[in-house]
């Protein structure tokens, strides 16, 4: 193993992650190679410096506050499902029927409103039809004839 390959293994060697035979090869190389030994020392210094980095001390009531929050979340979730579970089968059936009837009524009402609105509007297609196909409309044909008479 050359020095370049050895230096790739230095971190794992310091972490004790190299399997036995590989670890022994690296250890033997480090004992004889000054450059790789310096590489190991520099990583050891880094590890020591990292060990001094502080964490975040847990606030005194962190556990109790978290439990309290969990309980209040659970109460909110349970209220609706517990309410439903509390209903008997007859009440659940009645609730489902009421919802369906409500949807049906809403559909019928909205259809009535739509038909009412659309009845107020003139039939555009007839107007367009008469303008474009005068020969097919008796009314237009008569109007056309009337116009010609007036011109004469």
């Amino acid at each position: 193993m050359d020095c370049h390959a050895m230096q790739e293994k230095v971190v794992a060697f310091l972490d004790g992650e190299l399997p036995g035979p590989v670890g022994e090869v690296v250890a033997r190389h480090l004992s004889s190679c000054r450059e790789c030994a310096e590489e190991v020392n520099s990583f050891r210094q880094l590890n020591a410096a990292l060990d001094l980095l502080p964490g975040l001390p847990a606030p005194t009531r962190f556990a109790k506050e978290t439990v309290r929050k969990a309980v209040s979340c659970k109460r909110k979730e349970m209220s609706l499902s517990e309410l439903w579970k509390g209903f008997g089968n007859a009440w659940r059936f009645a609730a489902c029927v009421a919802v369906l009837l409500g949807l049906l009524s809403g559909g019928v009402a909205s259809r009535s409103v739509y038909l009412g609105i659309s009845a107020e509007q003139p039939d555009q297609t007839w107007i367009i039809y008469e303008d474009s196909e005068p020969s097919l409309s008796a009314t237009y044909g008569q109007a056309a004839l009337v116009d010609q008479d007036e011109q004469w």
Binding site: E8, V11, A12, D15, E17, S42, F43, Q45, L46, N47, A49, L50, L52, L53, P54, G55, L56, P57, A58, P59, F62, A63, K64, E65, T66, V67, K69, A70, V71, C73
Partner: protein, 204 residues
Amino acid sequence: MSRLDYVWCVRSCGISCCGSCMTLKCKYLEQSDDFLMELVARGDDKAFEELITRYQQTVLNLAFRFLGDEQEAKDAAQETFLRLLQAAERYQPTTQFKPFVLRITKNLCIDYIRKRKPVYLAEPPDYRDRTDPHAELELAQLGAILRKAVVALPENQRMALLLNHFEGLRYAEVAEIMETSVAAVESLLVRAKRTLRAKMKEFR
């Protein structure tokens, strides 16, 4: 009272109304994480509190070192335990508990990073007005620089470093939490430590 009797007692009368259960309150400390999770799944708040007490420091440290922000770290830590509570029913005792918790923390921390706008850490504090000895001053400044450098690492390198170096997890455990291979973890650590070493050399 045996463990099974204890569980029966919790089901039948609850922890607060049974005299023999009261004596077992102090025995939460003696219970394994897996057993406490079983109790948590049955709605035992005291068992949940004991689990939080055991792992709050580990979770807070990981979240703080990863996110670099105290308030976010506390929020992430609290959310970790709330998710743990939700996962209690499907927790399998064959899973190791610490990596299970840290995986939740890892996922949450990454979500926090993706949601936040870029945050620029403050410059290392100025110790010039203090009368600290030179060595202590230098150490404090180096610590601040390293902390900033850790937070500046790419997410994967940062998480691998925090799980391995600060939480003491083996490469295989880190790989399991990060859902990657041992070789990938090794590579992430080499790159992370080389970056940090370069920062350290710049300072010195």
